[in-house]
Symmetry: C6
Subunit: 78 residues, 6 copies
């Protein structure tokens, strides 16, 4: 039922910016895990990218994923 | 009232990718715990997998479950 | 105004699976605390168990409650 | 603009159950801080207590407040 | 684009109650940062203070801000 | 697919107020990452800044981002 694709090798990542990019990737992969049909996703994407409520909800998912990634990297303190 | 099924033996898991898969599983099992009828779930699934707002909300549940799993595994640091 | 029922004796619990069950229980008890009439809750339950958006929102509450329980038990590491 | 009422003397509390009750209280006091008119709140309450989506959203607020309270009390471990 | 106003001097604050008040202030300042026109905000406020779903959503923002403030003050333990 | 722009050099920042500003910036950059067309974003912005539900949802994203930033800076304690 779940994709056997490996999209997360490690949470340890060199820079905060890469951490942001990984957070966005993880959020997207969750969508992929639930809606597995790429054609349907493509069609859905057009809609939600123009719906601010859904854009904000997506930003919230990214914020949570990023919090985990930032913790894992000790906030890139040193 | 609650299912007696054991679906979570441990939060300790070998790799980050398995952590993602477990997060998705936990999110799904919460749905199962509330809507226990598999026929109704099957019917509902068709709908929500085409509704981006619900896909994003699902991604948020996965993000929270994953944060817990990542903490439990000390972010697979070593 | 608040129920005097004691439904949470301890957050310390033997297994991760019992932790999931407790998370579901805590989520339900919050609903009970706000909507105290069991007849109304019973009627409402039929509706929301068929509404995927609400099932997903419930799963999110469970995820947050479980995070707290998992922290309390040091993720059942040993 | 903000109420000068003191409704939170301490986060340190004797038992997990009192922690749940405090979480519910904090959630309610946030509503009071925004909608200061008790008559309007009373009228609104009738509506939302019969709306499952809002009951679930309230349960989520309680879950977050409880997480903070549980952390403050080191999960009542000893 | 962002207001140059300084509304957060410190997260360290004397009492839990002041922590609640600061949480409410931070939530409000986020709204101000996005909707900068005070006239529009005033008009919007009348609406959302009578909409329970939005009151509950506001309570959730306050709960998250308060969690951060409580952590910063080590839960006012001593 | 993702912007190659570097908008987050570091989570370490001098003051709590700058932390708030960074939280707002991160929330906005997440929206930009999903809706890459500046013209569409500009049009969407007019709508959501007058929709209180979306303003509150935005405030929630900011609260989560700020929690991460505050943790990274040890709450600017010293």
């Amino acid at each position: 039922m779940q994709s056997s694709e490996i999209y997360l090798e490690s949470l340890i990542i060199a820079t905060p910016q890469e951490g942001r990019n990984l957070a966005i990737k993880l959020a997207r992969k969750s969508i992929v895990a639930i809606q597995t049909d790429p054609e349907i996703r493509k069609k859905l994407r057009v809609d939600y990218a123009q719906d601010t409520a859904q854009l904000i909800a997506s930003a919230q998912v990214i914020a949570i994923e990023f919090q985990t990634i930032a913790m894992a990297n000790n906030y890139w303190k040193s």
